[in-house]
């Protein structure tokens, strides 16, 4: 039996102090991960940039007397999803010094119905169905088309803005 208890730690306090120190040290060290973008973010950024570039390039006319391929695809009736598919896959999957990449996508476009002010989204094209398990990133591009999209059939044909949206991921 110890009679003099001055300067001693009891077991329960020791354990509590140890746990607090563990938690503190863990939180402090782990906090650095907040500032680290990490590999996932970098590859996401690559994909987003690539998708954004692809849509932008597809919306540039090949010559001054032509419309952009993206505009022609949406203005076609029905929408020319095969051309979008082949063109998008071609420019995004081609690499410079090695074999082709394995990117997949699903694309749609969104526009506004002037009559009831509603927003509608229509499928544009896809290379593979999105099942939910993929780690997809989003790329968008506003495109001006001369067509009564989104059920605007009550109005004369005029230039309208549609938002093309592509979800893309790597197999």
């Amino acid at each position: 039996m110890v009679n003099e208890e001055g300067g001693q730690l009891y077991t329960i306090e020791g354990i509590a102090a140890g746990l607090i120190m563990i938690m503190t040290a863990y939180l402090v060290v782990n906090a650095t991960s907040v500032y680290t973008a990490g590999d996932t973010h970098i590859s996401d950024m690559h994909l987003e940039q690539l998708g954004s570039d692809a849509l932008r390039v597809m919306d540039i006319p090949e010559s001054i007397d032509k419309k952009s391929p993206l505009r022609e695809i949406i203005e076609a009736t029905p929408v020319d999803n095969a051309t979008f598919r082949s063109m998008f896959l071609n420019i995004t999957n081609n690499r410079t010094l090695s074999g082709p990449d394995h990117l997949q996508f699903t694309a749609g476009y969104t526009c506004r119905n002037n009559l009831d002010n509603s927003i509608a989204t229509y499928p544009l094209s896809y290379s593979r169905n999105l099942t939910g398990g993929e780690h997809a990133v989003r790329a968008t591009k506003w495109v001006i088309v001369n067509k009564n999209v989104c059920g605007n059939n009550y109005f004369p044909v005029q230039d309208r803005a549609v938002l093309v949206e592509v979800l893309m991921w790597r197999d």
């Binding site: 020791g14 354990i15 940039q49 690539l50 570039d53 690499r95 010094l97």
Partner: protein, 362 residues
């Protein structure tokens, strides 16, 4: 126990043990936590991205005269590479800039750019001596260009999708331009109206700008008209405010004859060049730019001599006095006007081509 002094209590021992175990555990996971930092990898990716942006969205510096027009002796004056045709048209690259950018030499500093030094200072930037590989796949022409080392493991990377704007060119079928009399000396002239070229089309992506891109003019099918043809001379005139002035043609812009891959030597025009069937003119943008002719009209007058006398290329004067050409009488003759290099007169403007640019940095 009578005296406890100098003993460790069981409580302290338990607490200290837990602390030590925890400390060891935390220390052991620190390297794993810092993997996410990967300072170099993130830096590589950032540098690759920055280089990709510079190359695809910036025309480089200097802009006028454009950096790609600087020959190897003056390459130290190039401050920044950039392949876009203008800052208003990102993603649309210039064919001339691409050719100049990938003009590399591994040994001779006086020929082309040297990897990595010339590129580090003008495209990669930063104090760290990065190694890199920059490559371009032209999907339209199925052609790959690259500069740099073989890519190792652990590198930063970016891939950009772009368009390439090729230079315009014209093919003149000689037999379509025989308006002359049957004589031994003929003059064929071509007009490059810079003012009209720059005003009719404002968008740089589709504009013919002789001070920014090479012009190519092929004159073909000559052998069907005459024999013993010689290209005796070629004169350049510039029209500013109604005044014609002669501009000497530098040897670097001499014509090509009969599909030859090299230009006529400096001995021409003192020694006339024999022509069998065709002549090709290629004017570098720096020549046009050096003329300060962005808002002028340029006339190219070629003298051909044939034997025996025959009807040949002549759209300027019926019986020209080539040595004493005067602008107004020569080029403003309503009956025989120069071939106009414009947007609709036999000039081919290639379509914008898809391409992929990749930058790897380590």
């Amino acid at each position: 126990m009578i005296d406890d002094n100098g003993n460790l209590s069981i409580d302290f021992l338990a607490g200290f043990t837990i602390f030590l175990l925890a400390f060891i555990w935390v220390v052991s996971i620190i390297p794993g936590l810092l993997i996410g930092l990967q300072a170099y990898t993130i830096d590589y990716d950032a540098v690759a991205y920055r280089t990709g942006v510079i190359l695809t969205e910036d025309p480089g510096w200097p802009v006028s005269p454009a950096w790609e027009s600087y020959g190897d002796p003056r390459k130290s004056d190039i401050k920044r590479f950039g392949l876009a045709i203008s800052k208003e048209t990102p993603h649309i690259l210039s064919q001339d800039k691409i050719v100049r950018f990938f003009n590399i030499s591994t040994t001779d500093p006086s020929v082309g750019f040297i990897y990595p030094d010339d590129y580090q200072q003008r495209a990669i930037f930063g104090d760290y001596p990065y190694r890199f590989n920059i490559s371009l796949r032209d999907l339209g022409q199925n052609e790959i260009r690259s500069v740099g080392d073989v890519i190792p493991d652990g590198y930063g990377y970016i891939r950009r999708v772009v368009k390439i704007k090729g230079a315009s060119n014209a093919t003149i079928i000689g037999s379509n331009y025989t308006k002359s009399d049957t004589v031994n000396t003929h003059v064929f002239s071509i007009l490059i109206n810079n003012t009209k070229l720059l005003e009719e089309v404002r968008d740089p992506a589709y504009q013919i700008d002789p001070s920014r891109e090479q012009l190519t003019i092929n004159i073909t099918n000559m052998s069907s008209m005459c024999t013993n043809i010689t290209l005796t001379n070629l004169k350049i005139y510039k029209l500013d405010s109604g005044v014609y002035s002669n501009v000497p043609l530098p040897a670097s812009n001499n014509p090509f004859v009969d599909g030859n891959s090299t230009r006529l030597q400096s001995s021409w025009p003192a020694t006339p060049a024999a022509v069998n069937d065709n002549v090709t003119l290629k004017f570098y943008p720096q020549f046009i730019d050096s003329m300060k002719a962005q808002n002028s009209q340029i006339f190219i007058a070629m003298r051909f001599d044939v034997n025996p006398a025959c009807r040949f290329l002549n759209n300027t004067q019926a019986l020209p006095d080539y040595d004493n050409l005067v602008g107004k009488d020569t080029f403003e003759n309503l009956n025989t006007t120069p071939f106009d290099y414009n947007y609709s007169n036999n000039v081919t403007q290639p379509k914008l081509r898809d391409a992929v640019l990749a930058v790897a940095v380590w």
